[in-house]
Symmetry: C2
Subunit: 131 residues, 2 copies
């Protein structure tokens, strides 16, 4: 594990992260996701019907980028192997909803469910291209 | 190929994109990059010493995300197989420098060189989570 540098820790409170996963064909996919910081881990609530969720189940290696909303040249990249766990009663989804003032159930169709994706900071790159 | 939707074409003029590549170990890497739009292609000037450049040489599949600087919930994802070509005399690097008011030679150490990376929009996702 690598620590998040103190001078970049503010980014752990940002609104969105870019998640990169790899499909079974070896091709990367990216999407913007809501997240919660939990110490040096990043945690996501993902709908099980999404391609990114299927990708993580097959290949847990992923990367998250969090950009400073005030400075697009300052960002954190966090890489790690994701742990994927069921969240059948929306316990974790409701924590994420608390950060965003949203009910994640409203993003899901009938029959869909949620998982908690935990990404430990195995590798951290803290970049400030404007410095 | 897929066209960039007209209502998202403004993002092709943004300042930065997030590039995702896949390493020889099957793990994704992300970094922020400068880019030029060329119709429905995205073109980058990369230093040959970087991990992302090595990754693209081994596995050309990549993904680019361009986020609306005024709305972090509105973005384009462009996926394609990158073409990597030498740029020994900085012809293309100088075009990128023209967009950013920068001389890319100043980002390179002695002995390093540049390639032009062209990513055709084989797959396009235009997302507005705020709509």
């Amino acid at each position: 594990m690598q620590p998040i540098p103190d001078q970049f820790r503010d980014l752990m409170g940002a609104q969105v992260a870019t998640l990169a996963t790899v499909g079974p064909n070896g091709r990367p996919q990216q999407s913007l996701v809501w997240f919660l910081a939990d110490g040096d881990q990043v945690r996501l609530s993902l709908n099980t019907s999404r391609q990114k969720t299927a990708n993580l189940t097959g290949n847990p290696s992923c990367s998250l980028v969090i950009v400073d909303p005030a400075n697009p040249y300052r960002y954190l990249e966090i890489r790690g192997a994701a742990r994927v766990e069921a969240d059948p009663d929306y316990t974790f989804a409701d924590k994420v909803g608390g950060k965003y003032g949203a009910d994640l159930r409203q993003h899901d169709a009938p029959g869909e469910s949620r998982v908690v994706v935990t990404v430990p900071a195995e590798r951290v790159r803290a970049v400030d291209m404007s410095a």
